[in-house]
């Protein structure tokens, strides 16, 4: 076994001739299963494959991606929670699995006690956009129009209790706007409804591609960083809107009780990746914004988001 390990490490090391391999300490197992709790093909899956590929090179071990979709990612998360905590199984998860799903229905795990938060990799890009059928050209006009026509507007999201839904509810509360939520099955359906005029605005990553083609009116970008693709669209920070939840994160998690040195190795490798331009470019191509958050801060942020999501979902009336 020991021979196998060092052989594999040596082989991978020579093959890559890579200074990135953390030479001082070998990773305790030679094959790591990276559970991606989504069907193959989505943004979460692509990020999972990129991270697995990158971690494999940096840690000098073989990473195998296992797609285990279903039940909004909770099926895959459950499997990761039950796996041995020796670093042989990791999870590339969206934050909604821990902060939203447990509020909506029974889940077969404890979102905090059963997991180790290792590090955050990236976050979803989002855009608030209005239909061209609406007589507005920017954020201020949108707010004015919405206040003059209370209850007339409809907005779409990818589902009741989805991060996009909750984020929109939160925004409307801050802006004191009344509008009706129309849930859809996927982002493409929401976009089509925005184009057809069934709904008047949406807050989702899918709006970015439409705004680039000028088929929808871009209003605002959540957060403080403008989008590279749409540099002229103001951010929430520019508009003076703070305290906004509901962005999507792609995080590396592990089962509870992982040895601290193993966690530290993965975290360090992800930190190094977050400073590697080649890896950042791959993430950007996958349609997400790189954002490294270290384990302890990530765990705290998840706890805080869990509480806030709980309150918002209870206010919407969908909390279980």
């Amino acid at each position: 076994m020991k021979y196998g390990l060092s052989f594999a490490a040596a082989l991978t090391g020579t093959m890559l001739l890579s200074p990135q391999v953390l030479a001082q300490q070998a990773y305790p197992v030679d094959t790591v299963t990276m559970i991606v709790p989504y069907a193959s093909g989505g943004a979460g899956d692509i990020v999972g494959r990129l991270v697995a590929d990158d971690l494999g090179q940096r840690l000098g071990v073989t990473f195998v991606v296992e797609n285990l979709g279903g039940a909004s990612g909770t099926l895959g998360a459950e499997k990761a929670a039950r796996a041995p905590a020796d670093g042989s199984t990791l999870l590339l998860a969206g934050n909604a699995i821990f902060t939203t799903a447990p509020h909506l229905a029974e889940v077969p795990f404890d979102p905090f006690a059963d997991f180790t938060a290792i590090a955050n990799v990236s976050e979803a890009v989002r855009l608030l956009a209005a239909s061209k059928h609406l007589p507005v050209t920017n954020f201020q006009e949108f707010v004015t129009y919405a206040k003059e026509n209370p209850g007339a507007l409809n907005y779409g999201s990818v589902g009741v209790g989805s991060t996009g839904h909750v984020a929109t509810v939160d925004l409307l509360r801050v802006l004191e706007i009344e509008a009706t939520h129309i849930p859809y099955k996927g982002a493409a359906e929401v976009v089509q409804a925005l184009l057809s005029g069934d709904i008047q605005f949406m807050l989702d990553a899918a709006a970015v591609a439409q705004a680039k083609q000028d088929t929808v009116t871009a209003l605002a970008v959540p957060g403080a960083t403008p989008l590279a693709a749409l540099p002229d669209v103001p951010t929430y920070a520019d508009l003076g809107i703070t305290s906004m939840t509901g962005t999507g994160w792609q995080m590396v998690m592990g089962p509870a009780g992982m040895p601290p040195d193993v966690v530290a190795m993965i975290e360090a490798a992800l930190k190094a990746a977050s400073e590697d331009p080649a890896f950042l470019e791959k993430l950007a191509k996958a349609g997400v914004s790189p954002r490294f958050i270290a384990g302890p801060e990530l765990a705290a942020a998840l706890q805080e988001d869990f509480t806030k999501q709980g309150a918002l979902l209870a206010a919407i009336g969908v909390k279980k």
Partner: protein, 498 residues
């Protein structure tokens, strides 16, 4: 529009040796995964996607597109030969396709499917080239009210063709609806019919249902009959369709192509709905509808043409609106974006070589598919010489591996067994699996769009009459309903006076 120079540009791109090679690779791979049940274009494309990062955008998109429409092409092979739907969209082909095989007409069924698909693919490609932008503008005029009315019309029209055993027909359709409703309710997010089973929260996978209902149920049925009866299945028969087959098939191919081309443009309507509607239309307008389910060649020609036409025209909303109509199309959209290309209304001008190259390559790919598939028919048919007691083991193994590979979930295998038993019971009770699937696909679709439209209108049902497209569908539906009811009443009176 400068169609000729554009097509010339497209052909120039498509006929460059490297792109021809990727096109051939794509359609060959597509045929292979189409033949293998469960291994669908989604898995294949998502696995190949990272490998195409390094290719030029044209080559990469041509390759991935080839896999996609190649799979729609190859999906019928196992449906016809062993009643095992290779792709969900080919499920309905099982009904008459496999009966043709049992009558020794497998070669004929395969040839009709291949030729019908080629014709439909050609028409679909031409539509993208000639009428892409106007068709795309129709797609964005479909809101919730229009979709609800369309599904209403489809449900009424197909329900009216259930001749004989109306109660049984309605019953089995409603059973399909109930199975279709399992999972999260889109309007409220509440889980329905999940019985506390996590796997059911996403609803029942149509691929699992179709493989169980057709392949597994067929095997149970054959074994129940005893081996001697199954031997009759090994008849090889002729390899080429008869003149009579051609005469019956070509109008069905035309109608199937029409339905598929239109439904393909509508995001979310889906390949399965197009092949299904085409089959139901053939059955309802046929002079002898009782031939269906017993090896009617129209029952192969129409759905196979429809799903191939739809798989081509599905590119219209994806390329020109950036609205992917299905998960596979969403992947294709992702592939464009990874190459830094945003599909949308400006696609045809901003990325002319890519757009026209793709369109031209689709036609070239369809040609390759027909050339590739016709000689294979002899080989496929020879597969039937394998004694049934060997063959069914392989079919079962393929069904299990295929179903498992879609979600890596053992639950899907149990579901497969369940639907196999259900399919056998339905058949034994004389209920049509087609109606079950009809309810499964259309029932939840109607509910979703109807409730959405009612929310948008704040509870005012006249929304369906205020919008011209929706009004048209509602009127057609009502007319069919009235016609059916009056014929029922007349029949009832005739029986009463007898």
């Amino acid at each position: 529009m400068d169609l000729l120079p554009n097509l010339a540009l497209g052909l120039q791109v498509a006929f460059s040796p490297i792109n021809l090679m990727y096109c051939l690779m794509g359609v060959t791979l597509g045929t292979a995964i189409g033949v293998l049940p469960g291994v669908g274009p989604i898995i294949t494309i998502s696995l190949l996607l990272p490998l195409t990062f390094g290719l030029p955008p044209e080559a990469s998109i041509i390759l991935l597109a080839g896999i996609y429409y190649g799979a729609a092409y190859g999906g019928s092979t196992t449906s016809i030969l062993v009643n095992l739907p290779g792709e969900a969209a080919s499920a309905v082909t099982c009904i008459d396709g496999h009966q043709m095989t049992r009558q020794g007409r497998a070669g004929s069924a395969l040839a009709i499917a291949a030729l019908g698909s080629f014709f439909a693919g050609t028409v679909g490609t031409l539509l993208i080239a000639l009428a892409g932008p106007p068709l795309a503008s129709i797609a964005i005029r479909f809101g919730a009210a229009e979709y609800a009315a369309l599904v209403f019309c489809a449900l009424i029209t197909t329900a009216s063709m259930t001749r004989g055993g109306a109660v049984k027909g309605i019953g089995v359709t409603l059973l399909g609806v109930i199975f279709g409703l399992a999972g999260a309710d889109v309007s409220t997010g509440i889980f329905r019919f999940d019985f506390g089973i996590l796997e059911l929260r996403d609803g029942i996978d149509f691929a699992v249902l179709a493989v169980g209902l057709f392949a597994v149920a067929e095997i149970i049925g054959n074994i129940a009959q005893g081996e001697e009866n199954v031997v009759s299945q090994q008849k090889l028969g002729r390899l080429w369709p008869t003149r009579d087959d051609f005469r019956r098939a070509w109008p069905a191919v035309l109608r199937g192509t029409g339905i598929g081309a239109v439904l393909g443009v509508l995001p979310g309507a889906g390949l399965a709905m197009s092949s299904f509607s085409a089959y139901m239309l053939e059955k309802s307008i046929a002079r002898e509808p009782e031939r269906f389910g017993k090896g009617a060649v129209e029952g192969v020609a129409a759905p196979e043409s429809a799903n191939n036409a739809a798989s081509q025209t599905a590119f219209i909303p994806t390329l020109l609106l950036s609205v992917p109509g299905s998960p596979v199309m969403a992947l294709m959209l992702g592939a464009f974006m990874i190459h830094g290309i945003s599909p949308g209304p400006r696609m045809m001008t901003e990325h002319a070589p890519l757009f026209w190259g793709l369109v031209a390559s689709m036609w070239v790919g369809n040609l390759m598919l027909v050339v590739l598939n016709l000689p294979l028919i002899g080989l496929w048919v020879r597969l039937l010489r394998v004694p049934y007691h060997w063959l069914f083991v392989f079919v079962l193994a393929f069904a299990c591996v295929g179903v498992f590979s879609t979600g890596a979930s053992v639950f899907d295998i149990y579901a497969l067994v369940f639907f196999g038993l259900l399919g056998y019971l339905l058949k034994a009770a004389g209920c049509s699996p087609a109606l079950f699937i009809l309810g499964f696909i259309l029932g939840p679709m109607f509910e979703e769009h109807f409730r959405r439209a009612m929310t948008l209108s704040r509870g005012d049902p006249t929304i369906f009459l205020q919008r011209p497209i929706s009004l048209t569908f509602v009127l057609i539906g009502l007319a069919v309903l009235l016609a059916t009811m009056s014929s029922f009443i007349r029949k009832g009176r005739a029986e009463a006076t007898d």
